[in-house]
């Protein structure tokens, strides 16, 4: 347990500043959205959320975000492990490449996907469509959130000594077994944060998805695209209601993951 030291005025001022900053940037918008949504009572919200198009948009948004998160978690952990534990030519390059989705504008990422997989693209698929179809949306969501898991796990992994892994090898454990039984327990917290960030980012993705999805209502329109269109159509309640659902789910994810982390910490003693 940390001791709570008596605070001097400067500390109190700093704490107030942080609280005010958080209030202005986080709480105020949430309040505004909630307020905007229930402006005319619950009925319009219910109507919005019962709309087939909205339900479909929410469903594909959640499903595809989960798929994107699973992909990014799996590959992100592997990327982090390879970068932290393997020495090979081009490692620095790969390390830099992982961050590209952070510095790339999502819209440009979307157009790049069209150039690659679209009509007359270099990698245009022949049997099924990628862009302007579900795979494109999943790919876009995956791309924009790609660095989170590896960037959360990487430093944790770097801080872990390599000897326990080597000890496991000499004790006969395979690479996969060592990874799962020795490495993973050490990086769970990083993975959890990575998953939270990845999922939140995938859920909220707009720019890249808007470019590659085609935005067909009730088909390839995601929740964020619906929000954007609803605002365009002066349907503020629709926009706020769906925003509220997205926000609530993000908060829920955060809570569940925090709970999981808390349990892990307690297990560890």
């Amino acid at each position: 347990m940390r001791e709570v030291a008596p605070k001097n005025p400067l500390q109190i001022l700093l704490i107030l500043l942080v609280l005010a900053y958080a209030a202005a940037l986080i709480i105020a918008p949430i309040y505004a959205i909630s307020d905007g949504a229930i402006e005319r009572g619950w009925q319009p919200i219910k109507d919005t959320l019962q709309d087939d198009g909205v339900q479909h948009a929410l469903r594909i948004t959640f499903e595809f975000s989960i798929i994107a998160t699973l992909l990014n978690t799996f590959f992100g952990v592997i990327i982090a492990w390879v970068l932290a534990r393997q020495r090979f030519y081009g490692r620095t390059l790969v390390n830099a490449l992982v961050d590209i989705p952070f510095v790339f504008s999502p819209v440009i990422a979307g157009y790049t996907m069209i150039v690659l997989f679209g009509r007359n693209g270099w990698l245009e698929p022949t049997t099924f469509a990628i862009v302007f179809a579900y795979p494109g949306i999943i790919l876009a969501k995956t791309f924009v959130a790609l660095p989170f898991v590896s960037r959360e796990v990487g430093p944790v992994l770097e801080s872990l000594p390599i000897e326990p892994e080597e000890a496991a090898y000499t004790l006969g454990a395979s690479r996969w077994g060592t990874f799962w039984r020795i490495v993973m327990p050490g990086i769970w917290v990083g993975v959890i944060y990575g998953v939270v960030l990845t999922l939140a980012r995938s859920l909220g993705e707009f720019g890249a998805v808007a470019v590659v999805s085609g935005g067909i209502e009730g088909k390839t329109e995601t929740a964020t695209m619906y929000v954007y269109r609803a605002l365009h159509d002066r349907n503020r309640i629709g926009a706020y209601s769906v925003s509220l659902v997205l926000g609530a789910v993000s908060v829920l994810i955060l809570l569940v993951m925090s709970l999981l982390k808390w349990r892990l910490d307690r297990q560890r003693g």
């Binding site: 000897e163 560890r268 003693g269």
Partner: protein
Amino acid sequence: MTIRLDHLVKKYGRQTVVNDVSLEIEQGELFVLLGASGSGKSTILRIIAGLTSLDSGSVQLNGRDVTRLSPQQRDTGFVFQNYSLFRHLNAAANIEFGLKVRKAPRKERQERVAELLRLIGLDGLGGRMPAQLSGGQQQRVALARALAPNPSVLLLDEPFGALDVKIRGQLRHSLREIQQQLQITTILVTHDQEEAFELADRIGIIERGVLLEVGTPAQLYRRPKHLYTANFLGTANVLNARRNGKTVYVDQVSLPAPSETEHLQNQAVHLVCRPEEIDLALEREQVSGSLIGRGRISNITFAGSLERATVQLIDVSAAKPLHVLLSPEKVRSLGAIPGQEVFVGIQDFHLLPFQEN
């Protein structure tokens, strides 16, 4: 032959960290690889375990060529300097790990864990997490973990390096006992010559990736084949000399040549002599060993049971000051004070071929 290393070579870029090392170790032997840090001794250990690849050469364990095998297939137990326990598993689970990997039956695993906990003197502490154990206890668990699957070879990389002096002594003792009880072929890497002397059946001296020489502790101390060994193991006084006939000439002083140095006939040599083999006396006749002339005491320091003196030779020009160990009785009889002139005798010495530096 339990371990046989043939011409091991390992390079990192242009630097050769292991240079043509060959070695044979007998069943049940406790072999110590001794060298300064960065000498490549740990790399050799890691090559044996398969944790570091090698550029050329071969490793045989129990007559089986394991050079191309993964660490998992080599059947070695490895103990690291920093304990390296699995932080999320308790002591018992750490020890059990290798057995679980081998899918040993549950009952067998439990029995083996209990047996090992007893062996390392941590009976009843199996439920503790690593963070709840002291450094010494953690290293005991690490030893038990390495021993659990009954490896054919035990490899220890500076296992006591992170512990304080007292615990280190206790652990050395335990290790020696356990090793003798189990008769497991063991290689221990250390930079601590005291540790090497205490534990080793044989010692191998490593310098800059080269295995200089191998021998029992006494052989290496008294009759080293290399000047490096002489200097690395304890303190050595080294004088430039020349062997002619049955005589060794140190400047103008002549001493009888040891018979086993016949091969250095008519050569410039180093005369190597341990501090405890030098005698000082006030009268020429009282000196034991071969007289090397007069000297002047320049410094005396208290060193516990013995006192350490430095003596500058007067009759030998260009000689470095000699390090001498004196008993309290000797100091009293000499009435030794800095500046005093004494006669210097050498009781036992050894010749090595001359080399620059």
